[in-house]
Amino acid sequence: MAAGPYSEKVMEHFMNPRNVGEIENADGVGEVGNPACGDMMRLYVKVEAGKVSDAKFRTFGCGAAIASSSMLTEMIKGKTIDEARAITNTQVSDALGGLPEVKIHCSVMAEEAVKAALDDYSKKHPG
């Protein structure tokens, strides 16, 4: 494979992102970031029986942002809401084999997107 600035894992997720798209009538949608800052992520989750049964994303952003989004969706699928909420940016970046220092914020964006999507879910499904 070509020598990119990223780890092989990042490049693999960037080239073949998992779960791109949107979920019709998603149970929760979270949007974080801002194109002005170079990246923006919209995360859709489906929740069944207290677990994240499906997740899809659309991201505008750099290689790290897209790979972080892809990795995140893989990580939260099948997790309980609490487990998904507990995912940290470090876990995302570790799962990707590390990110350049200046790109840590991309994994932070992924972490924030889950929280935003689950907040949205909680708001729509109170109690």
């Binding site: 990119g4 194109p35 170079g38 923006m40 505008f60 750099c62 290689g63 200046v102």
Partner: protein, 400 residues
């Protein structure tokens, strides 16, 4: 896989003839010109003299007006700081907002020590209005520094007009010809430059060597103090192989660069037209006509620049971006990701300017390279847009 280098503005491959010219100066003719009392030193010194002649000829200067430096950054720093240190009373400097960081940042210590600076705006095409230069000149203005051509957007500045104005007003004129020399004609008399920056690795010479033209009689203080080299403007053992290589590159450029430009200009036009026809919401940057041959720069909506470059690279196409995200992956924190000041200067909206791309062709690129790029880029842009939430929203909006 394809291997298409469209990033000549960042650097160029060293021409095989240049390598051949340099090679003997490593292991055989390795003398130090300062040791000219013996054969090896004398050989080095003579090669140095000959090389100075070639580089001088390239820009219409006298050999004694060429000072070799370690590259364009040093030459720009020397021009700005050296002129400032050599100035008695004049403490005002004028630059454009699209200068390279090695000009803009060289001003920082000067400001701290009391110099005043005027940073001229550019128009939508990235050009300085010579009239703005005229208006900005004050009685205490020392120097005007406006680059010849911009690397990122390809725009060529009206340097002759600016040079004429500076001359009329008795103000020094420096122009950074890093991106232009070896590609389009650069002549210190035609431009009216007192100081002019050159960089070998930008015209098929080696990295680590550049030069500054210093018009005879110009007051310039040295930045590197030490031995007697370079007429007192720049101490340090001369990089003889590098200098010989720069001279060889200059000779090649003098003989061939008109031909390169004649070939690259239509290739650039072909790329431009092809992009325009195949990618919606694509915006070209820089001046449509007054630009470097074979240089095509643009930004696209709803696709981020680094991602574009990564995917292009996967297709064997190497290019550059002024996007923040790709600017400095080696920095220590997010603040090191600085969006291009040039794109801001020409009014690209900051919320979507991240999708910028600079294609810069070189003498060895072909029509097939252009065709390949045109065959892969539309799909790359579409792919990224399909992934982008902003594109989705845009389409819904368009759909009504």
């Amino acid at each position: 896989m394809a291997h298409i280098f469209f990033d000549h503005i960042s650097t160029t491959p060293v021409d095989p003839r240049v390598i051949e010219a340099m090679l003997p100066y490593f292991g055989e003719k390795y003398g130090n010109p300062a040791s000219h009392i013996h054969d090896l030193g004398q050989t080095a010194l003579r090669s140095l003299d000959a090389a100075r002649g070639s580089v001088a000829r390239m820009v219409g200067a006298q050999p004694g007006e060429i000072v070799f430096t370690s590259g364009a950054t040093e030459a720009n720093n020397l021009a700005i700081k050296g002129a400032a240190a050599g100035s008695k009373d004049r403490r005002h400097i004028i630059v454009s907002e699209v200068e390279h960081f090695s000009v803009l940042n060289a001003l920082l210590p000067l400001r701290a020590s009391g110099f005043e600076t005027t940073v001229l705006h550019v128009d939508h095409d990235g050009r300085v209005d010579p009239d703005d230069v005229r208006k900005a000149i004050r009685p205490d203005t020392l120097l005007v520094s406006v680059m010849h051509a911009n690397a990122e957007i390809g725009t060529i500045q009206p340097v002759s007009e600016i040079g004429r104005i500076a001359r009329e007003r008795g103000v020094l004129f420096h122009t950074d010809a890093t991106a232009s020399a070896g590609h389009i004609p650069v002549d210190v008399e035609a431009i009216g430059a007192d100081l002019l920056t050159l960089s070998a690795h930008n015209f098929y010479g080696p990295k680590g060597i550049g030069a500054i033209y210093v018009r005879k009689g110009t007051r310039l203080e040295s930045m590197l103090d030490g031995g007697f080299q370079e007429g007192g403007y720049r101490a340090g053992t001369e990089n003889v192989p590098g200098i010989v290589g720069m001279a060889a590159a200059a000779e090649i450029a003098m003989a061939e660069s008109v031909g390169w430009a004649d070939r690259l200009a239509p290739l650039g036009r072909q790329l431009w037209d092809g992009l325009e026809a195949s990618i919606p919401l694509l915006h070209f940057t820089g001046h449509p006509k007054e630009r470097l041959p074979g240089h095509v720069s643009f930004w696209v909506e709803h696709a981020e620049g680094e991602s574009l470059l990564l995917l292009l690279n996967m297709q064997g196409v190497m290019a550059a971006s002024g996007s923040a995200c790709s600017s400095n992956l080696r920095g220590h924190d997010e603040e090191d990701l600085v969006a291009s000041t040039v794109l801001k200067a020409i009014g690209v909206p900051s919320d979507i300017c991240t999708g910028s791309v600079t294609f810069s062709m070189g003498k060895d690129n072909t029509g097939a390279d252009v065709a390949h790029v045109l065959s892969v880029l539309p799909a790359i842009v579409s792919r990224l847009r399909e992934m982008s939430p902003t594109w989705l929203d845009y389409q819904k909006q368009q759909g009504g």
